[in-house]
């Protein structure tokens, strides 16, 4: 109980400061509305259905892009570690593309896929792909030789070794890569929605900003941060369960 209070006390201090600073006139309440006003705006958004429509749209595109990145990324990373021709082909590309600022891809996606969901999904997919590939590659490459030999001696085929030994052994690194991808997916989706003004949390934030409804704008920002935070917590729980064998 006490530890929870201590752990969340900085958050509480931040909330108090957020309320106090504009009320005391230290900053213009127009540029930073007090927290209570932001929360009131949030309830308004909830009641209007703005939050549901845009939140759902964001969640759908984020899930689609992320799931695609996980499926393709794990397959690519494991194959890179397993078949050297795949590594020779793909690894230099991964290294060259890794430092590229991922949001720079969004205009390219708009050019290719237009101003719709496809561009947002593609931006999330491409932005999240590399951390998953790298995690899966490092994990699969680090699998102990003796684990593979044991399976071979038991009569496993090479496809079975890949599926039943290499992938599970690489799981800690794969899951760590996916965690990075999860954080990136929020960044990329909101950035894409800021540019593709049509629907989604990013669109909601930017349109309230343009209209001067700053309390609602902050409510949108707060929502995205909170969902991102809880998604990560939830993911850690799932990851802990999946890796419960690690003593």
């Amino acid at each position: 109980m006490r530890s929870a209070v201590v752990r969340y006390s900085p958050l509480l201090l931040l909330a108090i400061a957020w309320e106090a600073v504009p009320r005391l006139g230290l900053v213009d309440p127009d540029t930073l509305p007090p927290l209570s006003a932001v929360l009131r705006a949030w309830i308004g958004l909830l009641r209007d259905g703005d939050l549901a429509v845009n939140g759902l749209s964001s969640l759908q595109n984020l899930t689609a892009g992320l799931v695609l990145a996980i499926v393709v990324g794990v397959a690519l990373g494991v194959l890179m570690a397993w078949y050297w021709p795949v590594e020779v082909l793909v690894n230099p590309l991964v290294r060259i593309l890794y430092p590229l600022p991922r949001s720079a891809l969004i205009p390219v996606m708009i050019l290719w896929f237009g101003l719709g969901a496809a561009s947002k999904i593609a931006a999330v997919f491409l932005g999240c792909l590399l951390p998953v590939v790298i995690g899966a590659f490092n994990g699969a490459r680090g699998v102990e030789q003796v684990l593979i030999w044991s399976a071979r001696a038991a009569g496993a085929t090479s496809l079975e070794v890949l599926r039943e030994v290499v992938v599970p052994a690489a799981m800690p690194e794969i899951l760590a890569g996916i965690r990075n991808a999860l954080a990136l997916s929020f960044i990329l989706l909101v950035a894409a929605e800021l540019l593709i003004s049509q629907r989604g949390m990013g669109y909601l934030i930017s349109s309230f900003g343009e209209a001067g409804a700053y309390d609602a704008m902050f409510a949108g920002v707060l929502t995205v941060s909170a969902v991102g935070f809880f998604a990560d917590r939830l993911y850690l729980l799932v990851m802990g369960w999946a890796l419960r064998w690690r003593g």
């Binding site: 684990l147 030999w149 001696a153 038991a154 009569g155 419960r244 064998w245 690690r246």
Partner: protein, 261 residues
């Protein structure tokens, strides 16, 4: 028919980014059916390499390795292997680890479950069925690894310094367990070790290997078949045999030491 034969086997190790080394040079050795043979030698003498060639994990480059007259071309369930660091699947429970080999044998489910149960009892791990390897001591892990390998019922058991990572007491207990298991289900065993007492105690014959490049220096009959047990180690005959093998190994161990850079 599980006779094993190495004929003029040479093997060169080619590590990436350093010079190749000759690990084995024209090794010839026959292992009889249902014999317990120890490969004894200093570290780096190629004794594990010899075992991996027999297991089919490394390609035979020069010479021939045959089992029951047939050349070894890859790993197979007729040759089970136990490694020094257990090589258990850490994400599988004790029971799931033991079941893995049985699943590969495509046995019916009820039969698999029955055999897994038997093996867990055989290695005294009842009650730990659903534990993960990370929750077990070293000795328990190695018992799981042995059970997993025995599950497939291989005619040949390859053991690569299986008790090297265990403390002295656990190792002594494991020796008794291994001998008991082999009495119950006779097998051909090839056992790699650098521990002279262990080799003399467990094996019917001990093949002493020279420092790199590995060659068979001498093959010694221990002559203790049938009278194995903790009492044996206190006898004069046992001490003499250990002394004799120590004399053979000592020079090679010193050679291996001085050559390590």
């Amino acid at each position: 028919m599980t006779g094993i034969s190495f004929h003029e086997v040479s093997h060169t190790y080619r590590p990436p980014r350093s010079a190749p080394t000759l690990a084995l040079e024209r090794v010839s050795l026959d292992v009889r059916e249902r014999e317990f043979l120890a490969l004894l030698g200093p570290s780096g003498c190629g004794k594990s390499t010899l075992l991996y060639l027999l297991g089919g994990f490394l390609p035979v480059e020069a010479g021939a390795v045959t089992v029951a007259g047939k050349p070894v071309t890859g790993p197979g369930p007729d040759r089970g292997i136990v490694f020094q660091n257990f090589a258990l699947y850490p994400w599988k429970t004790v029971r799931q680890n033991i079941l893995y080999g049985l699943e590969k044998q495509r046995l019916p489910r009820a039969e698999r479950e029955r055999r897994a149960r038997e093996l867990i009892e055989l290695v005294h791990l009842g009650g730990f069925d659903n534990s993960y390897p990370a929750q077990l001591s070293g000795g328990m892990k190695q018992r799981v690894a042995i059970a997993r390998t025995l599950a497939v019922d291989p005619a040949i058991l390859l053991m690569d310094e299986p008790f090297g990572a265990l403390d002295a007491q656990t190792r002594a207990l494991m020796h008794e367990e291994l001998l008991a298991i082999i009495r119950r289900t006779p097998k051909t065993v090839v056992f790699v070790t650098h521990d002279v007492r262990e080799a003399v105690y467990l094996a019917d014959r001990v093949a002493v290997m020279s420092a790199r490049p590995g060659r068979i220096k001498e093959i010694v009959d221990t002559g203790f078949a049938g009278e194995k047990g903790p009492a044996l180690t206190g006898t004069r005959a046992f001490a003499d045999k250990v002394e004799h093998l120590w004399d053979l190994v000592r020079g090679e161990a010193i050679l291996a030491q001085t050559r390590r850079d």
